[in-house]
Amino acid sequence: MNHASLARLERVYHFFGQRAESGDAAQIPVLADVSLEVRPGQFVCVMGPSGSGKSTLLHVLAGLTRPAAGRVELGGRSLGELGPAEVTRQRRDTVGFVFQFFNLLPNLSVWENVSIPLAIRGEPIAERRGELEGLLQRFGLGGRLPALPHQLSGGQMQRVAVARALAGRQPLLLCDEPTGNLSQENGREIMHSLRRAVDEDGRSVLLVTHNPRDAAFADRVLFLIDGKLDPGQALEGPGLDPAKVHASLTALAI
């Protein structure tokens, strides 16, 4: 076990529609012999076409789904050796999530959504009020604290989601197509904030996307094709050319 890794997948298999322990070889593999590592301060991107298993990879890594086979480490601990409650705690302490469809809690205001990770951990919010307000200010949401999600634009909702992920101070951010429902400009804004989180705050990011422009922000781009991840085909960044990323993806997908 490599303690320098924040998150690690070792020879993971997962099948479509199966329960964790069955692993029937005749079923369609969503993940086939996938190995992956994210180190501290690293921005890793996994690219693949729609339906390639990218979201499943994130779910397995976050402990939301148990793989059919293989080893999953999160925060230095093997999830296979932990019970459900411990997995949840490990996820809570290690991972911040950003979803494609924002997934804000509809009945909570902007302020309440952003501070929910603290409430989950039972941390007093008052001690970090200034920090959270500053974070929201940075995202241009300083004047929208009492607003409900349905009162926000798509871009604003995703910025709240990113702020929520950052507010928890977890070392690893898992981002599932965070710009998928945004305009180009809003999407770029989100990606810049993720890049800042790595460069300025020392976080790690694992991004799954099919958008080459988003992938170009990463330090390392891996390609998930037909459930397989080939590290040999990875592109090393930062500062990758989106056109090159797109070309690689296209070539591998055909």
Binding site: N103, L105, I120, M157
Partner: protein, 865 residues
């Protein structure tokens, strides 16, 4: 704030409408039962006590002549837990050491220890008996104050010199001189002063309470007829006690002591309580439905929280807190609403004995029952939040994040199974443990329990067992409507298909109310028919006259008969309660009509005073038939047994006071036994010749009085009028049920409304897309109304069928409980009324969801996330 409080509070705050309806559903259910029990408690508390300055035992009996062992006979009577022999008479008291003649007072002799255990007297102060051999006496407050006596003082008591004793002997009041010397004084010691309660009120507090043995010594040479006062076990059915007493005793039951305990009253009160439990169950069903169906809407929320690292206990805690807040709110609002409702009902003269059981200026709250019912509603409502809590713990996070949820049907099935256990099993069990039903632990109670559970089973069984059947029936009903409104019909049929369990639950709630309505109407109709049948015998061709100026009725009768207007006259000035109402009527008049006209032998026996005629109601109440013997207590002749000669309602009914349980003896016999004047009348019942116009009779009556210069304006009422009033009384008596039914219908509507609101929320995105594609608000509204129409028709139809099927059962139960002879009525307007009412209710319940759906921003709906 913790995660649970943040989530719960924001959910309640941001969805106030849903929270309000869920809270209101439970609160209304609690309010109805609280109101019922408060009204019932106040009704019982309104029972008149003893006279202001006198005392009347709840149950006083006199043994028939020849009964040797009275005590042994009393011990065999069910429901009698204690008895004391007693008699009372005038006497005199002397303060020892003071020169005086002696002051008059009332001497009451009882078996002191028994009387004390029965609570017949209370003491303001007392001392222990001294060893001086003097018998102890308790003095009334007024006697003690006027003579300056207190505990420990020596006194002397004596009976008065017997005056010429006035007794009714063979129709004449006779004076019997005693011819005795002054009776001796007997010394005694004052052991205490009686409180001015119960026995202490006798003669306004001018009394001496002595032990029975001492009293017998005091009145050694005088005849004093002993009686017995009984303490009754209230849980034993009154009818059993009465039936057992009637064999060997004449008894007098103080009306106020048994209010609400007679069989028909018990049936009424139990029925009201049962209706209350139905309402509570329906209210709880509403909150179950709301809390549980809302789970489907919030599955994604659960997934997000789990993905963010919230533990299942934390998530479940949020649902639990939300349920706790709603249940607590209902537990506070419900009783307050219930007490307000009870006050409103009582102010409008609606009691648990119907509207004729008036309660004036009284409001007594049974805080024990109110607290218990509120706690029960709170606990079961809270348990209802356990289901979504369990579901929340079991939700698959990834599926939830994708917006997938367990198939709605399987969630609904689990919910209904859970609520079935709660509503059929736990709620009735706890309800019956907490609240006492009226009457003995017997068949009637078991019948009530079985009926209650059966109806509850309908409520939860239908959606659980046959949601698909209900869904298919609903689909069939939608088709013809969809032909007229294609697009709305399409939306409605899709909503019905995908929400079959929800539709079935709504149908069950509506059916419950419809069945209750039809069943109640059936019961009311059976009572109506019974009264109508009685009226045929007792009121047809009658004219009731009241307020006559003490006219010599024979002359009046002769005058009216001479004009061919009247066949017979009953005069109503002679009536005695011994132990039931007894009227003395002229035998010659009675032999012209009814059974006595048909049987001359019977008429002769009646005229000779060989027996009595009894009304059908009295016969039912006491289980009497022709040939049975009834002991009649008389002032001068002791207890006189009379045989029942016939059972008929043709004679003896007088409008004021209304009493259907009575006996009729000949006027000659009542004069002989009770020395009552039989020649003048204040009121009369005229048997009219068939086809006679009552106005003619009234005119002739007034003419007769005017000719003789008799003052006053007597009032007349035709038999048809009295029949109408009696039949209307039945409707008024059942008003309390109508009130409960109305509130329960409102609850059912809230349940239907909640279901449609949740359906709208589930389908918000779908509806948003349709609106974006050009569907109008009117078309969407039409689909909701169509769905409501289907629910109403199905629920009303099922309920009407079920209710009509239950009518024979309900009537039979009422028959057994009340002792009345009831017929099962044929189906009538109640059936279509139930159907139409259910339809209107379901349509009305859709109005608010329509308003919400039409207001929803389609853009927001399609955006999702």
């Amino acid at each position: 704030m913790t995660l649970a409080t943040t989530i719960a509070w924001s959910s309640l705050r941001r969805r106030p409408g849903r929270a309000l309806f869920a809270l209101f559903g439970v609160a209304l259910g609690i309010a109805i039962v609280v109101a019922i029990f408060t009204v019932d408690h106040t009704t019982l508390a309104s029972a008149p006590g003893g006279a202001a300055e006198g005392f009347q035992a709840d149950l006083e009996v006199r043994p028939k002549p020849g009964l040797d062992d009275v005590r042994a006979a009393l011990e065999q009577v069910p429901g009698v837990i204690e008895s004391t022999a007693t008699f009372q008479s005038d006497g005199r008291v002397l303060v020892v050491g003071q020169a005086q003649q002696g002051a008059p007072l009332r001497i009451v002799a009882v078996e002191l220890e028994r009387a004390r255990s029965m609570g017949l007297f209370q003491l303001e102060n007392s001392i222990e008996p001294a060893d001086d051999g003097l018998p102890g006496v308790y003095l009334g407050r007024r006697t003690a104050q006027s003579l300056g006596l207190s505990a420990g003082d020596p006194i002397a008591l004596a009976r008065p010199l017997r005056p010429a004793d006035e007794t009714c002997v063979d129709g004449r009041m006779e004076l019997r001189s005693s011819g005795e010397r002054a009776p001796p004084w007997q010394r005694a010691r004052v052991l205490g002063i009686l409180a001015f309660e119960n026995l202490g009120r006798t003669s306004g507090g001018d009394l001496a309470l002595v032990d029975f043995a001492f009293g017998q010594r005091l009145f050694e040479q005088a005849f004093v007829e002993p009686r017995y006062w009984l303490a009754r076990d209230q849980t034993v059915d009154l009818e059993r006690t009465r039936a057992a007493l009637a064999k060997d005793f004449a008894y007098d039951l103080r009306a106020g002591s048994v209010i609400g305990q007679q069989a028909d009253e018990r049936a009424f009160r139990n029925g009201v309580r049962l209706a209350g439990m139905m309402a509570l169950a329906l209210g709880l069903f509403v909150i179950f439905h709301t809390l549980s169906m809302s789970l489907l809407e919030r599955v994604r929320e659960i997934g997000i929280l789990a993905a963010l690292g919230a533990g299942r206990s934390q998530i479940a805690g949020a649902f639990f807190l939300e349920g706790l807040a709603l249940a607590a709110g209902a537990a506070v609002v419900g009783p307050a609403l219930g007490l307000a409702l009870a006050k409103f009902l009582l102010v409008n003269h609606v009691s648990s004995l119907g509207i004729t059981g008036r309660v004036e200026n009284l409001f007594v709250v049974p805080w024990g029952a109110v607290s218990a019912l509120s706690a029960l509603g709170f606990a079961v409502a809270l348990l209802g939040s356990v289901f979504p809590l369990l579901e929340a713990r079991g939700t698959d996070t990834v599926a939830a994040l994708r917006g997938e949820s367990r198939e709605a049907a399987s969630v609904a099935r689990a919910f209904h199974l859970f609520s079935a256990v709660l509503i059929i099993g736990i709620l009735p069990l706890v309800f019956f443990l907490v609240i006492d039903f009226v009457g003995e632990d017997s068949r009637e109670l078991l019948g009530v329990v079985l009926m209650a559970v059966g109806v509850l089973a309908l409520l939860v069984g239908t959606p659980l067992l046959v949601p698909s059947v209900v869904g298919r029936l609903a689909g069939l009903l939608t088709r013809p409507l969809a032909r007229r409104w294609p697009f709305s019909g399409l939306l409605a049929s899709r909503a019905i298909q995908t929400g079959a369990p929800r539709i079935a639950a709504a149908v069950a709630a509506i059916a419950l109310v419809a069945a209750a309505f039809v069943g109640l109407r059936g019961m009311t109709k059976s009572l109506w028919l019974e009264t109508d049948r009685w009226a045929d015998e007792a009121l047809t061709d009658r004219l009731f006259v009241e307020g006559l100026p003490l006219v010599a009725w024979r002359a009046l009768a002769q005058d009216l008969e001479g004009r061919g207007l009247v066949r017979a006259v009953e005069v109503g000035s002679q009536r005695i309660d011994a132990p039931f109402r007894i009227l003395g009527l002229d035998a010659d008049q009675l032999r012209r009509v009814g059974p006595l006209a048909a049987d001359p032998g019977l008429a002769e026996a009646f005229a000779r005073g060989e027996g009595l005629l009894i009304s059908r109601r009295l016969a039912e109440q006491r289980g009497l038939g022709v040939g049975d013997t009834v002991p009649i207590a008389t002032p001068g002749s002791g207890v006189v047994p009379l045989a029942v000669l016939a059972v008929s309602d043709q004679y003896g009914y007088f409008r004021n006071p209304h009493e259907r349980a009575y006996g009729v003896i000949s006027a000659d016999l009542i004069r002989r036994l009770f020395c009552l004047d039989v020649e003048v009348a204040e009121s009369a019942v005229l048997h009219l010749a068939p086809g006679t116009d009552p106005l003619l009779v009234e005119a002739a009556l007034m003419g007769h009085l005017a000719e003789r210069g008799l003052p006053g304006q007597p009032r007349t009422f035709t038999g048809a009028q009295v029949r109408r009033w009696e039949l209307d009384d039945i409707e008024r008596d059942f008003l309390v049920f109508d009130v409960i039914l109305g509130l329960t219908a409102f609850l059912a509507a809230v349940g239907v409304l909640n279901g449609q609101l949740l359906s709208a929320l589930e389908r918000a995105q779908e509806l948003g897309v349709l609106r974006a594609l050009g569907a109008s608000g009117r078309q969407i509204a039409g689909s909701v109304l169509l769905e409501g129409a289907v629910v109403g028709l199905l629920g009303g139809g099922l309920g009407a069928f079920l209710g009509q099927s239950l009518v024979p059962v309900a009537v039979r139960s009422l028959e057994v409980l009340s002792g009345l002879d009831l017929a099962v009525p044929a189906p009538d307007r109640a059936l279509p009324a139930a159907l139409v009412g259910a339809l209107c209710l379901a349509l009305a319940a859709g109005l608010y969801p329509i308003w919400r759906m039409v207001r929803t921003d389609p853009v927001r709906a399609v955006r999702g996330g």
